[in-house]
Symmetry: C2
Subunit: 223 residues, 2 copies
DNA sequence: CCTTGTGAATATGTTCACAGCA
DNA sequence: TGCTGTGAACATATTCACAAGG
């Protein structure tokens, strides 16, 4: 995001699959599942491209990195291609995720019911505010941050969501990484400093807004 | 995403500034403001690159599209560069934003106090659930979606946040565009179909997760 | 010394266009 | 016919490396 970019951990040595290609696969998958839910059985790179606003050649090229999933003259079987993409992305199962931060955003994330069927489950929620401990969020109860190590170890949890204020984000990230987390989705509006083996994705709505305003005619509230 | 990519409205005709460069400016700005708040007065492309995990050459090249902001031997004056970036991105003022969807996510966004000092203010919140109308969210009170046209017109609002369920998102987007909105930040997990003059940025945490799992050793809850 | 700004060189990403097969 | 998969061509983005200035 987005999302921001660059400096992502990409362990796929030298001549491997471009990260930008990997980044498009989840979007393909999301759209294929929509088509599937609408009862479609087959699609083509052209149809998919139209739905996503990208070229059919790009879709074919992207998929060709992983195998030959289509049939000439026919296109792609939707259910089959979904399965393949899920396997490639390793979301043909459910990943445990820990969430740090039980503010409004943490509550929204913990209550979101769209994770499970796309491969993720929030297994624990942490906050450093003792007034919040024991509070219910989604299916979980808020725990103190000091229990992070045990919980991460218990679930072998590799993924964390950071939904804490900017000034705490780096310290919490350090702690998570220390206990074995390797992927962080960071909602705090800062760039984290992490070791090479850790990957961070960022979500900051203001970054998205500021990208959009460049293209707008200035139209502010004051003046 | 993070945001997802491609097919963005870019009115800057032929030989203009690459969109990917524009997308990095908000990140530079965010980091410069952090340095500023820490009392620093001057920085260099090298220091900034280190903080962001990108090359100093890239930062210099990006900035060179817009002018000569630095001093050889010295670097960049932080306050000055912030001002310039804010002007380029047109965030040297406050943009009115409407928010559609008053669920958990809508509440989190409406209560977030990090918008105003970065150039944005949520001026109205809408929902189609009559039970929610009148409810307080942040500084606003939920209104029915039928009042969208008046409110958007009143504020000349060009930016909207879509925080509604996926199945309503396209219809709401159509309505917003009809009333004059030109930029949409979409939290619903679908790709919107919009006319060429409208730009959409997407935020879907699952897309970010699925991008990350490609690089992890499979480690699921079951099996 | 140091650091910027920038052409040239390199690396990466996208599209074209077509052979081959259902 | 209609569509995939793919090298070759093209387009875009990043890095190098250095002249010039404080």
């Amino acid at each position: 995001m987005a999302s921001e970019r660059t400096n992502h951990y990409n362990p796929s040595g030298a001549g491997e699959i471009p990260d930008i290609v990997i980044g498009r696969l989840p979007v393909y998958l999301r759209t294929l599942r929509l088509l599937d839910s609408q009862g479609a059985e087959v699609t083509s790179s052209q149809e998919l491209g139209q739905l996503l606003g990208i070229s059919s050649a790009q879709i074919r090229k992207d998929l060709s990195h992983f195998g030959e999933f289509g049939k000439q003259g026919t296109g792609y079987n939707i259910a089959f291609l979904c399965k393949q993409l899920e396997k490639i992305l390793k979301v043909d199962c459910v990943w445990p995720v820990v969430l740090v931060g039980a503010g409004y955003l943490g509550h929204a994330l913990a209550s979101y019911n769209g994770f499970e069927n796309r491969g993720f489950r929030i297994v624990a929620v942490f906050d450093n505010d003792s007034a919040k401990i024991g509070e219910r969020v989604g299916e979980n109860y808020v725990q103190g941050v000091e229990t992070i190590p045990q919980v991460v170890a218990k679930y072998h949890c590799q993924i964390a969501i950071l939904a804490v204020p900017a000034q705490n984000a780096q310290a919490v990230a350090d702690q998570l990484i220390e206990t074995g987390v390797r992927s962080i989705l960071c909602y705090a509006p800062i760039t984290l400093n992490v070791p090479q083996h850790v990957r961070v994705e960022y979500i900051d709505p203001v970054i998205s807004f500021q990208h959009m305003t460049f293209y707008l005619e200035k139209g502010c509230i004051d003046e």
